[in-house]
């Protein structure tokens, strides 16, 4: 490796090739997801409709579920005996609709499931390639790969997929249905990055020479990725909630909406997922802003100057705070709170694209 030049052209080139390859694989994953949804539409088990329209279900509002888990308990003798773990009965809060979660994108169809798995494998592969691309970019410039919007975009999309894969791997949440919207957005982000935002790899302006770059920007990227997952869940919640409301009211729902929305998790599940995701990352977003303020204090001499980027991250913060409060305020729960969450994410997006492109401020570096 010749390090005579600060920028290693070879590595930068490798990084570009990797990013393009990742896009190709994401494209394949996108098609696999489309197949998954298409095959899944053959499944005609209308659980939601059955749950909401059959008289028996709505009578007893509180539903129960049991789960049995066998646990191994160390016995006194040193061996282990298998004990039946007591069944824990859970009851959902009464008053909520008792709607089962949809079966997922594949609709329980075997072929759909196969395509879903293929899509997931391809997404994983594309993620690895993209991650290598980001690392190669970082090595080529010998710094954190977050110096301009192109680098920020490739890192952001890779982290978003990483969050999704990590959530899937934790097996606590079944969120494979998120695959199609996620891969679509990632393709759009990467497409925008390589076509419009591309910047040849280079060094940073002196103001960015700080370890706070690692802390502040990596947190911002991670928050963005998680907020994105929350926003998709919120959006789908709004659709699914309307669908359930229509079913209860006995209104007609188009066949397409039925086919797609039927397979999503119940509105309550989506709402809870969105809340959990947004609430979990909100403290980190708070930290991101505070870290930014501390950095600004040493770089510009002021902790807070209402620079456009600062202002919009503050607006985003307040909007998410509104969402969290709205969920606990009578008359604001549900759809209104969800709308607030979407507005908050729109603020986040504007802070990234809008402020960088249309507004000049102290965060304007290296030509977008």
């Amino acid at each position: 490796m010749i390090l005579a030049a600060a920028t290693n052209e070879n590595l930068a080139h490798t990084s570009n090739v990797l990013i393009y390859s990742a896009m190709a694989v994401y494209m394949l994953a996108f098609f696999a997801h489309i197949f998954e949804w298409t095959f899944g539409s053959r499944s005609k088990v209308a659980r939601t409709a059955a749950a909401l329209t059959s008289g028996g279900a709505s009578e007893d509002a509180a539903a129960e579920a049991t789960a049995t888990v066998t646990v191994k308990v160390a016995a006194k003798g040193g061996g282990t005996t298998v004990l039946e773990r007591p069944k824990v009965v859970t009851r959902s809060a009464s008053g909520s609709r008792n709607v089962p979660d949809g079966p997922g994108a594949d609709g329980g169809d075997a072929q759909g499931d196969m395509w879903g798995r293929i899509a997931l494998a391809l997404t994983g592969l594309a993620f690895l390639i993209a991650a290598c691309g980001v690392v190669a970019r970082a090595l080529s410039v010998q710094r954190a790969p977050w110096g301009n919007m192109y680098e920020f975009s490739i890192t952001f999309s890779t982290v978003a997929v990483g969050v999704y894969l990590a959530l899937l791997a934790s097996r606590k949440l079944n969120i494979r249905w998120l695959g199609l919207p996620l891969v679509t957005t990632v393709l759009l982000t990467l497409g925008l990055a390589v076509s419009v935002l591309y910047t040849a790899s280079d060094q940073l302006v002196p103001a960015l020479h700080s370890y706070w770059l690692w802390i502040h920007v990596s947190c911002a990227i991670f928050c963005g990725a998680v907020f994105y997952v929350g926003a998709v869940a919120t959006l789908l919640y709004l659709f699914r909630d309307r669908y359930e409301t229509k079913l209860i009211a006995g209104e007609k729902v188009s066949a397409f909406a039925t086919s797609v929305l039927e397979r999503l998790p119940a509105a309550a599940t989506l709402d809870k997922l969105a809340y959990r995701v947004n609430a979990a990352v909100f403290p980190l977003w708070t930290f991101t802003i505070i870290a930014g303020a501390i950095w600004a204090g040493s770089a510009w001499g002021h902790y807070w100057e209402w620079d456009p980027k600062e202002t919009w991250s503050f607006i985003t913060w307040v909007a998410y705070a509104c969402y969290l409060h709205a969920r606990a305020t009578a008359g604001w729960k549900g759809r209104k709170a969800a709308t607030l969450a979407l507005v908050a994410f729109a603020c986040f997006l504007f802070n990234y694209y809008g402020v960088n492109i249309f507004v000049t401020g102290k965060h304007s570096y290296a030509g977008v």
Partner: protein, 605 residues
Amino acid sequence: MSNTDTHAGEDLAGDTTPTDDVADERELGAAGSQLSTAPREEPLAAGPRLGPIGWARWFWRQLTSMRIALLLLLLLSLAAIPGSLIPQTSASSNKVDTFLTQHTTLGPIYDKLQLFHVYSSVWFSAIYILLFISLIGCIIPRSWQFVGQLRGRPPGAPSRLTRLPAYTTWRTDTEPEEVRKAALTLLKRRRFRAHVVGDAVAAEKGYLRESGNLIFHVALIVMLVSFASGSLFKSEGGKLIMEGDTDGFSNTLSQYDDFTSGSLFDTSNLPPFSFSLDHFVGTYERSGPEVGTARKFQADIHYSAGPGDSEHKGVIKENHPLQIEGSKVFLISHGYAPSVTVKDGKGKVVFHGNTPLLPFDKNLSSSGAIKVMDGYHDKNGKKDQLGFAALFVPTFGGKGQMLSQFPAPDFPVLNIGAYHGDLGVDSGVPQNVYQLDTKSLTPFKDSKGDILKKSLLPGETMKLPNGAGSITFDKGPIKQWASFQITHQPGEGWALGGAVAAILGLAGSLFIQRRRIWVRATKGPDGVTVLEMAGLGRSESAKLPEELGDLAVTLIPEAPPAPEPDAPGVPEADATAPGPDADDAGEATAATGAAPADHAEGAEK
């Protein structure tokens, strides 16, 4: 103001089951009571005929209600928007002036609405002050309530534990007292606050959620107060220093180019440090698409902490201010200060020195004014003043515009326009040292009658017409200047502490679940102990049943299950309640543990 709480008690009470259950519901509501200090929402009803105190109380209740707090939060985010789109005086007063000249109708309206200083405007302040009053009005009663809850004990078990969100039961041969004792020990070991009430153990955990919530909101107030008080005591000023300028800067008011301070700052308290600029280093990208982009700025300085202190060498870079005597010195900007020599008609040097010029683009094309205020006499021997409008480019791009091609002084060219007359410096009106006020100046004319203007290379001289003298762009390296901002901002520690507390409190209030667990042990009719466990949280969470299962598993060695009787277990008087085995409910809404409930389709008739 609670972030996340939903009214568990309210949810339970919202059930519309037959009247038999009314008492039951009340009891369940009591079990879930005081699981948080979140305010209950009151209907927006203004009572008729309220006296002044009544109205004040009504207003106060409205202001501190969640609904109004939420609206104020929304307003705050909306109010912050214009400041990011309209130029602000605090960020750039030049841009505001440009805006005002470009928009003659809109400008004054904006000015009236205080849109050029949104964040110090009356309406923005009103919103956040109201918000903080609302916040304080919310926190204080909640803190009291929380203290009460901390001093109290978790309420006793409701009679029908089966109705709680998570429930489990088994039969055991261990005596009820023993079971309760074991459960109490277990729960206490798991750091629950637990005590025995009647035939059951009542336990509660997760008080940190409420503490976190309160800490977060108090920390916000601490941050606001420390910023506000900090701005009363802060001082901030700018100083431009040229390389090798031996005087440098000493920290007294008269030395500042500009200075602002909070209303409670005592200017005689400025710490007596001083520093001077030895050398400024700026390096720029020489190739690639980002040619000309700055790579490194560094100011090599000498500083001393006070009259008795010796000189130290130091370096100020971006991101690395000099910290001295409680103040910070930041490197803000830099530029060139070309040296010129001005002679009068007799060849006498009337001015020789460097004049700092202000850059106006990325490649450091700079402009400024060279002023010869005294010592100059025109050819008739009359006292006169000379003014030169200077335009400097560090790298000249050949013929055409005086715009620099690169920030480093590769091909420096100085363009001079010459004037004489009254510079206006004695008029008492403060003027910009970097601008030439040409109102009472007469331009020197060239042979064509235009204003005398010439681009000079180092060493070149422009002769003023009619023996009025000459100006020479001196040879040698072009000196650079750097400008520094000297800031003294107290209250930083408090703000930082507040910020850290806010994050920790937030994490506590969002990640910790406050929940109650009850363990009831009673003798069944057949002499076998029936053990029941149930859990209730503020919000539905998959973690609660998991935790209950864990606790049950841990309790089993102390209370091993007894063989089931032939009939499905119907414990005590609770015959109407659906038992765990009587799977008579409709759909499964929440599957717990790793095994999803797969009997979801089995809708009950």
